[in-house]
Symmetry: C2
Subunit: 510 residues, 2 copies
């Protein structure tokens, strides 16, 4: 091991340990342990940052002259060091204190459905994030600097035209769907015991290739995937006994994330290329959007497809014979693909989810750009919901206060959900072009060729390439929503019996 | 916080984190994670040691001039630094490598029941531990230096007369018991579903005062208790569905350890006084023997008593009605207090356990002292088993190869089990003298006064006092086996209908 490798391994170990502490806190820890755990996590974070900013580490990174992979690792370390050094210590300290305080205030404000309670913290949070953007630096828009923390290379200038095309497609499609009768879905709310849900979900995860010798499925209030090297990649889900799709698709979603982490080249373990050094987080995916592309691909492109349920619905009926006695495969497939405008993002369907995301991105961009004041945020939120979804927001709890992200200071993370959707369809299209047998194999439940193709083309590289480089290598192009729009139009056109226009025409008229 | 306090807190955080990683590895981690986990744990250990041996920490400790508690913390830090500095880095490295290698070889040798396979590693392990003793320093016997790592202040010169009295008492008592008919115990081997065992055991633990808001019970191959500050103290047990006492008394045993850790003064969290700095382990108990005194007290003095089962046996019968249909309280109490000479330490009863321990201590002391060669160890082992227990050892797996301790380099830890037994009775006697209502309360299941007395007199202090200081404060004397011998004679005399002599006479003739 070189000095750079040894120091990188130590930093990655610390970030993996931070993930263990985090996983335990969210799945196993008794309530009384939270205060001490927060201190333990703060100690590890501080140590990881200290090791990263040790001048000897920067020196070791500068001296690297190896193969392309090693040089990229060194460059990423230098970039992260440079970014973190630009952030004043006082700003880091203020942000840490405000995040902890603001999350408490937000939780109380949401419970009281009173935006005014949270407005002072949010105002300060916007101000500090503007300072953070200034410290990190940007060319066009301060929001670009924050975006770059989650999705390197993406800018406001990339998002605006992308969002314009998505909205021009999604809103009319939603309206056309709303004009049709809603499919039956009452049976999704029958009683489904959690143990049976867990068995069935985990079996599907394993069919996709999730290796439980290197992972496990647990319960937590908010589902997540987390890794401590590729050798230990854990997922969680939340079981609602009166709503089957929650845990079922939640598990497939986290499985997609897990396949990415389990598929990284073993040689990248304990290196910079499985570490988000700027975010001080151990993760192998190239970016949060790229990661999300894999959760969406396995959850939606595979897990909500007709082929999938043609094969697996009989098994589901065996697991829950009474609940599904009078429901056929087609009815089940329609039900789990129901589109319905709703107020809450985390309950949104595949189509309206993007509208929720775009709203948040546009508002946070305007806040960071100084174009929108915090006091005007609820009105702007409600107006956008009305325009896109046709709904009236009854109170702040069902509107502007619903997400934790802003109280946690996560400005710039929302776009990665929609970018993930777009990328998922691009990757899936490329896989189909390169694997002629893909679709016919999926009819028979052959998931291995797809997973191997994704491993070969995406997973194995960890964070070696930027998301843009990766997308170019795999699909030959940058972010392109066309495959995604084609997929949605085709799928919902068929499900709702719509006489859909080819998308290429619609996009000309935004 | 002073600089000393801040640095101490950081070290304690790292040791608590090491415990979290350890707990997870033993209860939750998928098999594939072991290699990466070992590296993560090595990284944290190295960091904790680096922080401990940082000259700035030693300087900060030297500058402490606070109250008695703070001064003791500083002195303990200085003592640990001094001890660790005396150990050559090369010896530490060699020991770490040998421990990992020797445990593998030992496991294979035990499986093959072939001591010869393990002898070379054990020879080297003895040699390195002699070097370690030399580096640490001692006055009389090299074994004293190793003993001091687990039970500060105890020496060979303390153990020899103690053991002489115990053996002179235990061996004749065992022989008298063996002359009596064995009580019925077949019902302990009925089928007891694990879920029911867990419910019942945990309910008892909670009756003793184990706070599950700050703890939890899990399964593991080897039961243990571990803490990450007093706010998160976890226990594990192992459920054997064909043997009820294993998990039942195992849980009460670990509960005793847990009550100690949960009872420490909150102000000692994140300090030297909840850290074994020399052993690089987060633990609040004054020593391993003191800790064991509490597991033994709650498991044996309370959990195997007649009063306890008079109260709780009806509840056990409700939990397992078929298994215990024809068994009355007295029969159950007799069965769980059966004395039977056996070959395996971890299966031994309360009386013969000490004989197993004393044998190991005498042999390891002789190995470290150079009075016994490794090649002669099996014969010495087998002779001692014959003399004390009257049994022939059929093979090495049932003899000298049964314990992991020597392959793990833990020379000096065995005595703490018997010291714990002795201390438990001293503490219990003192509690009875100071709490006149103790025994009558226990008849009604009132465990709180005992736990509060132990907290007030022992638990709250963490590692503030040495075990000897603590014993003197609480009982007015040093290690004294008399209360323990009285307890055993009285208990087994009654159970087996023996015409026991008062112990005070026996002890005059060793």
């Amino acid at each position: 091991m070189t000095d750079f490798q040894r120091r990188s391994a130590e930093i990655n170990d610390l970030l993996c340990i931070l993930n263990v502490l985090n996983w335990d806190a969210r799945t196993q820890m008794p309530a009384g342990g939270s205060g001490a755990r927060a201190q333990q996590m703060a100690t590890i974070s501080a140590l990881a940052q200290e090791k990263l900013l040790d001048p000897a580490y920067e020196q070791a990174a500068r001296e690297v002259s190896g193969d392309d992979t090693e040089n990229r690792a060194a460059q990423q370390a230098l970039d992260a060091i440079s970014a973190l050094k630009r952030i004043p210590a006082e700003l880091t300290r203020e942000l840490a204190i405000l995040k902890s305080e603001a999350q408490d205030v937000w939780a109380r404000a949401r419970a009281a459905s009173d935006f005014g309670m949270f407005a002072p913290q949010l105002t300060r949070m916007v101000e500090l994030n503007r300072q953070l953007a200034g410290a990190l630096g940007y060319e066009d828009h301060p929001y670009d600097a924050l975006l770059n923390l989650y999705e390197p290379g993406v800018r406001v200038a990339t998002l605006l035209p992308l969002f314009e095309r998505l909205r021009a497609h999604h809103v009319p499609l939603l309206q056309a769907i709303q004009a049709q009768p809603a499919p039956r879905s009452d049976f999704l709310h029958a009683h489904y015991p959690a143990a049976g849900q867990k068995r069935f979900s985990l079996a599907l995860a394993q069919e996709f290739g999730y290796d439980t010798q290197r992972g496990r499925l647990d319960e937590s209030a908010h589902p997540f995937e987390i890794s401590f090297t590729r050798q230990d990649v854990r997922i969680t889900t939340r079981f609602q006994e009166d709503f089957l799709p929650g845990a079922l698709f939640g598990t497939l979603h986290e499985t997609g994330h897990a396949l990415y982490e389990q598929g990284v080249n073993p040689e990248l373990s304990r290196t910079v290329l499985t570490s988000d050094l700027t975010g001080l987080y151990a993760v192998a995916g190239a970016s949060y959007g790229t990661h999300e592309s894999q959760s969406r691909l396995w959850e939606n492109r595979i897990g909500r497809s007709k082929a999938f349920w043609n094969l697996h619905y009989p098994q589901l009926q065996v697991a829950f014979p009474e609940q599904l006695a009078d429901v056929d495969t087609a009815a089940f497939h329609r039900a789990v693909n129901t589109v319905q405008a709703s107020l809450i993002r985390v309950e949104a369907d595949e189509l309206t989810y993007d509208l929720h995301i775009m709203l948040r991105v546009e508002l946070e961009r305007a806040l960071i750009g100084g174009e929108l004041e915090v006091k005007d945020l609820p009105a702007a939120w409600n107006a956008r919901i009305k325009a896109d979804l046709g709904l009236d927001v009854p109170d702040d709890a069902h509107g502007v206060l619903q997400d934790i992200h802003w109280s946690a200071g996560m400005f710039g993370s929302f776009p990665t959900y929609t970018i993930g959707n777009v990328m998922a369809s691009q990757f899936y299209q490329a896989a189909g072009q390169q694997l002629p047998e893909l679709e016919s194999g999926l009819l028979r439940g052959e998931y291995t060729p797809l997973r191997e193709w994704l491993t070969e083309n995406i997973y194995q590289f960890g964070r070696t390439y930027t998301p843009h480089e990766l997308l170019k290598r795999v699909t030959g192009r940058g972010l392109d929503p066309q495959p995604y729009l084609d997929y949605l139009s085709g799928k919902y056109g068929e499900l709702y019996g719509l006489n859909t226009q080819p998308n290429t025409q619609k996009e000309q008229t935004p």
